[in-house]
């Protein structure tokens, strides 16, 4: 609503979003659709019950290739890269020496010594510089492929049914967090069975110039099955219900990987990596705080991102993300609280516009799809 001083970056689908009458917002310097005319609730429901199509072309892609590629990615990330099969993907992070987050990312193993690193849009330049800085002494090339790459995410239980008629690549055999290369609607793609919604689905990477043609083909194939274009608004509620971290919320450069509940991406026994020493030390000491899921007890009490968690009028923690949950029908959130309070069924108080309201700690993820 306000005048923007700097020119926002645009994905190859900017015109397509405007043609669909999307509401556009500044997201980390990118002009992105927050919702289409159907609205966040309808888009959220479409992804949970049918399918939604997201533009995620703003994400950053960094390719690392050469005889030293595996050693470099092992050094840069806490998850066990050598365990990845060619054609497999995993979730991981770039950490600082103190164990806090530069960013979170996906690592795609394209070959024995070739990796595609997919990072957050808002951190893309910082991440590329980080990888370059640490690549010295490793025999490999580091290329920022972000400007040349488009990406769309088809998410929801009807994803296979919508996408299969557009490609000769058999989709059903692609396992969750695996990928392959193929053609979709005649366009060369990296077809990845991944996503950020908790539903089955595919992330399709293609040349930037092909993105709009790919988007239109998937929209046309999916519309008869109830596919909706889906914006960042429902992307946030979908990922929150599944307790998937968002940089700047659950994780940032003040929170380390273990307290974020991400011990499963930290393989302390894999050999050295940046942040390992700090996380070893953190693991040996009792954790002062923990990320928990909560629901507020009254319908009118809707917690929001960054609100304080309080006790006797003093702040003891903070909400990272919170919203009314479209799927669960209750007001949910994630918060860092002192470890001694982090028990399922325990009560905490959230300060909402000056008023301390009751919340109950509940198990996460809040939503899990039926297998």
């Amino acid at each position: 609503m306000s005048n923007t001083a700097v020119e926002l970056m645009k994905t190859p689908l900017n015109a397509a979003h405007r043609a669909l009458i999307a509401k556009m917002v500044d997201f980390g310097g990118w002009d992105m659709p927050v919702q289409y005319p159907a609205g966040i609730l309808a888009e959220h429901e479409a992804v949970r019950t049918r399918a939604g199509l997201f533009d995620v072309s703003h994400m950053g892609e960094i390719r690392v290739k050469g005889p030293g590629a595996l050693a470099l990615v092992e050094h840069l990330t806490p998850n066990a890269v050598s365990k990845l099969a060619i054609g497999q993907v995993h979730y991981t992070a770039f950490l600082y020496e103190n164990g806090t987050f530069v960013d979170d990312l996906l690592v795609y193993r394209e070959g024995e010594q070739e990796f595609l690193l997919v990072v957050n849009a808002g951190n893309s330049d910082k991440d590329f510089a980080w990888v370059q800085q640490h690549a010295k002494g490793y025999d490999c090339t580091v290329v920022n492929e972000s400007p040349a790459t488009g990406q769309i995410a088809l998410q929801g239980p009807l994803s296979v049914s919508i996408l299969q008629p557009l490609t000769k690549t058999p989709l059903e055999p692609i396992g969750y967090y695996f990928f392959t290369h193929g053609e979709v609607a005649g366009i060369k793609c990296l077809i990845s069975r991944t996503g950020y919604t908790g539903e089955d689905g595919f992330e399709l990477y293609c040349a930037a110039g092909d993105t709009e043609r790919l988007w239109n083909a998937v929209m046309a194939a999916g519309t008869p099955q109830g596919l909706l274009p889906a914006g960042l608004g429902c992307r946030n509620t979908l990922r929150l219900e599944c307790k998937m971290a968002l940089y700047g919320h659950e994780i940032d450069d003040t929170i380390h990987a273990l307290e974020a509940g991400l011990a499963w991406i930290v393989k302390l026994d894999k050999g050295d990596f940046i942040g390992r020493a700090a996380l070893l030390a953190a693991k040996a000491a009792p954790a002062p705080r923990k990320l928990v899921g909560f629901k507020t007890l009254e319908k009118r009490d809707i917690a929001r991102d960054h609100m304080p968690v309080v006790q006797d009028g003093k702040q003891i923690g903070f909400v990272t993300s919170a919203a009314p949950s479209p799927t669960c029908g209750i007001n949910l959130g994630l918060a860092y609280v002192p470890t001694e309070l982090a028990k399922t069924g325990g009560r905490i108080q959230i300060e909402i516009r000056g008023r301390a309201v009751a919340a109950e700690i509940i198990p996460t993820p809040f939503y899990k799809r039926a297998k």
Partner: protein, 128 residues
Amino acid sequence: MFPADLKYTKDHEWLKPAGDGTALVGITHYAQDALGDVVFVDLPEVGEAIGHGEEFGTVESVKTVSELNMPSDAEILEVNGLLADHPEAVNEDPYGKGWMVKVRLKGALAADLLDAKAYEALVSAESH
């Protein structure tokens, strides 16, 4: 989008005087569109006196929350009971079924209320 029989605030509330000293108050089409799907409307108690510009409630959407400010000095006569179970009425019919409170006006209408033309100009300036 901008009914001529309403008065508007710069914060995107509307007020519709009934001519008998009472009025309905709600939020504008522009406001509901900016909020997106409304999921809860928190409204005051009947009988409360609320001054011009003071908060009388909040409207919560999936993505954000907005304060409701009273367009003119008033006392709450009635709150729209429909909104408790059907907050989406605010999106579907912001000037009709989505009204929020019925008030008794106290004294003269606030001097800073806008007519439809002035409000339309304000919204068109905010949208660009």
